[in-house]
C-alpha cells in the first residue's frame, strides 16, 4: 500500500519537476560539500558562510574583484591609531521578521560575537573589539582594545553578520537553526543535503531578487555535478573540475566562467628540520619545480604561478623576482649546501584527487635533482592531528606539507600572518613551515598598528621580499576558480575566496 502511494507520489512530482516549469523560477546550485551550520559566526567553512550570505548581510562586503563595498553600512571614518571606527548605517532596512535594522542591531550582533562566553568559533576575528557605541539610530562607533588597521576588511568577512535582535531574543541558542537576517532571501529549509531559501519580498534593494528562491544541493562527485548541469537539474555549479572544461566549452547551452582567486598553493618546508634549515636547499627546490608545468598538469592550465608569498589579488601585493625553472642551478645550490646527490624527504596533503596529483607532480619534478619525495595523502582528521597535535615545534613530524590558503578577510594580514608569523607555530596558528624571521614578524605587527594604507603597504612590501628570499615554501600557483552555468542564467559570480554571490541571479 505504502509502496503504491510512494510510486504515485513519485509520478506526480516527476510531472511537477518537468524542466521548463519550475526551473525558470528557482535557482538550483550544485556544490561539492554539505553545509555545516546556519550560524555564520559559528561555522568555519566557506560554503556555509557563503550560503548564509543569501540570508544574512554584513556591514561591508566584497565586489567581484574583492574590493570592499558598503552593504548595510553607508560610509565609515577611522581615527589615526586605528582604534575607533565610526560607521554610518543604511536606513529603511528591515529584517525578515519585520523588525528594523538599526545601530542597536549592529551593537548586539558584534558584541555577541566578541563575547567569549558565547563560545562562537569565529570570535577571534574581532577579539580586539572593546565595545560598540550607539551614536544615533543609524550611526555606531566601534571601539577597539588594540589598534587594528584591517578592521574594515574584517567586517566584510562573511562570518560577521548582523542578526535580528528580536530573533536572537526569541530563539536564543536555536538561532543556529532559525536564521533571521536582512538578505535577499528568507530561510526555508535545511535537511540532509539540501538547503533552501525563498525570495524576500521586502528586500531593501528595490526590484530584487529576480528569482523565487535558491536551492543548494550537495553533490560530492565532480563528474556527477557536471552531469547534473548537462541534464539541466542544476543551473550553476561551483568548483568545476578543470579537466572537464574542454568538454563543457563545446556544449552550446553551458558557460564556463574562469575567475582569478586568492587561493595560493604552496608546499611548506619545515625550516627547523634538516635539510630545510639551509635556505639554499629551500631555494634549490624552488628552482627545481617548473611552475608553468605545475599549472598545466595540476590545474589543467587554469592557474598562474605565484609571484609573491601571497596571490596578486590581495591588497599590498608586490611581485618578486621569480625562481625560474633551472635544474642546473638547483643542483648547484644543493651541492653548495652539502647535498650533491639530493636527499630523501616526505610530503603530505589531503587525500583528494587534486592534492594527490599536485604531490605526484612535485615528486616527479624533485626527482630530477635527486630529491626522493615520498607522497603521503592523509585523511583530513589524520592530517589535522599531524599538524595540530604538536605542542612543541621540535616534536613536529612535518617535513613538507602541500596546502592552499585563502585570506578569508581579503587582506594581506590574514593572507600572510597565520602562515608565516613566528608566533604562529601550530597549534597557535598555521605556520607549518615553522618559519621565524624577526624582521618579518616586526612587519606583520607594525602593519596592524596603523590604518594608514601607505604605512601598511611599506610593511607588507618588506615582509614579502624577505619571505620570498628565505623561501620557506615551494611557491606554486594561484588557481583560477571555475564555475559553470546554464547560458540563460546571469548575475551569479564567484568571489576570489571561493565564496559565491547569488543575489543577482536572473533567468533570461
Amino acid at each position: 500500500m505504502r509502496l503504491k502511494a510512494l510510486l504515485a507520489a513519485g509520478a506526480l512530482s516527476a510531472l511537477a519537476l518537468a524542466p521548463g516549469l519550475a526551473a525558470a523560477k528557482t535557482l538550483v546550485v550544485g556544490v561539492p560539500d554539505n553545509l555545516t551550520g546556519l550560524d555564520p559566526t559559528n561555522v568555519n567553512d566557506t560554503l556555509s558562510q557563503t550560503a548564509m550570505r543569501t540570508v544574512y548581510q554584513g556591514l561591508f562586503g566584497f565586489d567581484q574583484d574583492m574590493k570592499i563595498v558598503p552593504v548595510l553600512a553607508e560610509s565609515f571614518e577611522a581615527n589615526d591609531t586605528a582604534t575607533e571606527f565610526t560607521i554610518r548605517l543604511r536606513k529603511g532596512v528591515k529584517f525578515h521578521d519585520g523588525t528594523d535594522f538599526n545601530a542597536n542591531a549592529v551593537k548586539i550582533s558584534l558584541e555577541r560575537l566578541a563575547n567569549p562566553d558565547n563560545k562562537l568559533s569565529r570570535r577571534s576575528l574581532i577579539s580586539m573589539l572593546d565595545r560598540v557605541d550607539v551614536i544615533d539610530d543609524s550611526t555606531v562607533k566601534i571601539v577597539l582594545k588594540t589598534p587594528f588597521g584591517a578592521l574594515i576588511n574584517t567586517l566584510a568577512h562573511p562570518a560577521i553578520v548582523i542578526m535580528s535582535p528580536a530573533a536572537l531574543e526569541k530563539y536564543g541558542k536555536d538561532i543556529a537553526r532559525n536564521p533571521v537576517g536582512t538578505g535577499a532571501f528568507k530561510f526555508k529549509r535545511w535537511a540532509a543535503d539540501t538547503f533552501e531559501v525563498e525570495k524576500n519580498e521586502h528586500y531593501w534593494k528595490a526590484g530584487w531578487p529576480k528569482v523565487d528562491g535558491v536551492t543548494l544541493r550537495s553533490v560530492p562527485e565532480n563528474g556527477s555535478r557536471f552531469a547534473m548541469l548537462q541534464a539541466g537539474e542544476v543551473q550553476y555549479v561551483t568548483l568545476f573540475p578543470p579537466e572537464l572544461v574542454p568538454v563543457a566549452e563545446k556544449l552550446p547551452n553551458l558557460l564556463v566562467v574562469k575567475r582569478p582567486s586568492i587561493v595560493g598553493w604552496y608546499a611548506a618546508m619545515n625550516t627547523m628540520k634538516k635539510p630545510f634549515t639551509d635556505p639554499r636547499v629551500r631555494q634549490a627546490l624552488n628552482y627545481a619545480v617548473d611552475k608553468a608545468a605545475y599549472c598545466k598538469v595540476v590545474e589543467s592550465g587554469f592557474c598562474t604561478p605565484l609571484q609573491s608569498p601571497m596571490p596578486d589579488l590581495l591588497g599590498f601585493f608586490e611581485p618578486q623576482k621569480p625562481y625560474t625553472f633551472d635544474v642546473a642551478k638547483a643542483k648547484a645550490l644543493l651541492a653548495e649546501a652539502g647535498y650533491p646527490n639530493g636527499f630523501e624527504t616526505e610530503i603530505f596533503a589531503l587525500n583528494n584527487t587534486n592534492q594527490i596529483r599536485a604531490m605526484q607532480f612535485l615528486q616527479q619534478q624533485l626527482a630530477q635533482v635527486g630529491v626522493k619525495l615520498t607522497v603521503t595523502p592523509l585523511e583530513s582528521g589524520v592530517a589535522a592531528q599531524r599538524i595540530w597535535g604538536v605542542q612543541k615545534p621540535e616534536d613536529a613530524t612535518v617535513q613538507m606539507q602541500l596546502t592552499g590558503w585563502s585570506s578569508s578577510t581579503g587582506d594581506a594580514d590574514w593572507g600572510l600572518r597565520p602562515l608565516l608569523w613566528g608566533k604562529g607555530f601550530p597549534p597557535a596558528l598555521f605556520n607549518v613551515a615553522y618559519y621565524k624571521n624577526d624582521k618579518v614578524d616586526a612587519d606583520f605587527e607594525g602593519a596592524l598598528e596603523t590604518a594608514d594604507p601607505a604605512k601598511r603597504g611599506a610593511f607588507y612590501a618588506d615582509a614579502q621580499k624577505r619571505i620570498w628570499e628565505d623561501a620557506p615554501w615551494i611557491f606554486l600557483g594561484a588557481s583560477q576558480l571555475l564555475t559553470a552555468q546554464s547560458k540563460n542564467l546571469s548575475g551569479v559570480y564567484m568571489l576570489p575566496d571561493r565564496g559565491f554571490v547569488l543575489e543577482g541571479a536572473e533567468f533570461k
Binding site: 579537466e243 598538469v297 583528494n352 584527487t353 604531490m359 607522497v375 585523511e379 589524520v382
Partner: protein, 296 residues
C-alpha cells in the same frame, strides 16, 4: 596447455583426501573455469614479467603527451601526466593481484583458525569467537578500513590489512560450520579416544574437511578484495601514488570520463575481467570439489 598444472597445484598443498585425479577429471569439465584459470595464469606471468614486457616505465611522466588516445606508440593511450596507460596496467597487475591474494590469505588464515577452534571446542570459546564475528560483521567494513588506515597510515600494505579484516568473520563461519559437522564423525571420536592431541586433530582431521569450501570461497574472495581496494581508492584511502594500482588509476581518471575515456576504460576492463575470472574459477572449483554437487 600450461594451464593443466595450474589449478591442481592449489589442491596439492591442501592435503585433499579425494584423489587428485578424481578432482581433475571433474574440474576439466568446467570449461568456463578452465578458461578463467588460463587467463589468471597468463595474468600472473604478466605481473611477474611486467618490467620486461611493458614498453614504458609506469611512473615516468611525459608532459608533451598528456591524455592521448590509443596510438601505435601508446596502445592504451596516456594519462594526465603523459604516462603510458598500458604499461601502468601491466605493472598494476602486480599490485592488484598481490592485494587480492595477500589480503585474502591473511583474512583466511585468521578466520579459518578461529572457525576451527570455535567449532571444535564449542561452549564459551565458541560463543565468544562467534560474538566477535558478529560485531565485526555488523561494523561497517568501510569504517574499519578507515580506522585501520587512519591508525596505521596510508600505504598498500595497510590497504591489505584493512581488506583482510573484511574476510575474517566469513572464513570463520565457513570453517566453524564444517568443523561442527565433522566433529561428530567416527574417526574424530576415535582419534580423541586414543588420546590424540587437540591440535593434531584440528590440523589433521578438521582443517582438511573445511578446505574445499575455503578454497572455493578463497578464489571468489580475491575478486571481492580487488574491488574493495578499488573502492578504498575511490574514497581516497587506497594505494599511494604513483602506484599503478588499478583502482587508483580508475579513481584518479574518473574525472576524465567524456574527455579521455581511455584513462578509465582500460583499468576498468582490467579489474572487471580479473575479478570475473576469479569468480568463474571459484564457481568451477566449487562444482568440482563439492561432493554434494557431483554430477550423478
Amino acid at each position: 596447455m600450461s594451464t593443466a598444472t595450474s589449478a591442481p597445484a592449489i589442491v596439492v598443498a591442501s592435503d585433499m583426501r579425494t584423489p587428485l585425479g578424481e578432482f581433475w577429471r571433474r574440474f576439466r569439465r568446467q570449461k568456463v573455469a578452465l578458461v578463467a584459470g588460463a587467463f589468471l595464469l597468463a595474468l600472473l606471468l604478466v605481473a611477474i614479467f611486467a618490467p620486461w614486457i611493458a614498453p614504458y616505465d609506469p611512473a615516468t611522466p611525459d608532459y608533451m603527451a598528456i591524455l592521448q588516445g590509443p596510438t601505435a606508440a601508446h596502445w592504451a593511450g596516456t594519462d594526465a601526466y603523459g604516462r603510458d596507460v598500458f604499461s601502468r596496467i601491466l605493472f598494476g597487475a602486480r599490485i592488484s593481484l598481490a592485494v587480492g591474494f595477500l589480503s585474502v590469505s591473511l583474512g583466511g588464515l585468521v578466520g579459518v583458525s578461529l572457525g576451527v577452534i570455535s567449532g571444535y571446542y564449542g561452549g564459551l570459546i565458541d560463543s565468544l569467537i562467534m560474538r566477535v564475528c558478529d560485531v565485526l560483521l555488523a561494523f561497517p567494513g568501510i569504517l574499519l578500513a578507515i580506522g585501520v588506515i587512519a591508525i596505521l597510515g596510508p600505504g598498500i600494505d595497510n590497504v591489505i590489512y584493512a581488506v583482510a579484516v573484511f574476510s575474517v568473520p566469513i572464513f570463520a563461519r565457513l570453517a566453524r560450520g564444517s568443523t561442527l559437522s565433522l566433529k561428530r564423525a567416527v574417526y574424530v571420536d576415535a582419534a580423541r579416544a586414543i588420546g590424540v592431541k587437540d591440535r593434531v586433530i584440528m590440523m589433521r582431521h578438521l582443517l582438511p574437511g573445511a578446505l574445499p569450501n575455503v578454497i572455493v570461497y578463497f578464489s571468489m574472495r580475491i575478486g571481492t578484495s580487488i574491488l574493495t581496494a578499488a573502492s578504498l581508492s575511490f574514497i581516497g584511502l587506497g594505494a599511494q601514488p604513483p602506484s599503478p594500482e588499478w583502482g587508483a588509476m580508475l579513481a584518479d581518471g574518473r574525472s576524465y570520463i567524456g574527455v579521455a575515456d581511455n584513462v578509465t576504460l582500460f583499468p576498468g576492463i582490467a579489474i572487471f575481467v580479473t575479478v570475473l575470472a576469479f569468480n568463474l574459477l571459484g564457481d568451477g572449483l566449487r562444482d568440482a570439489l563439492d561432493p554434494k554437487l557431483r554430477m550423478a
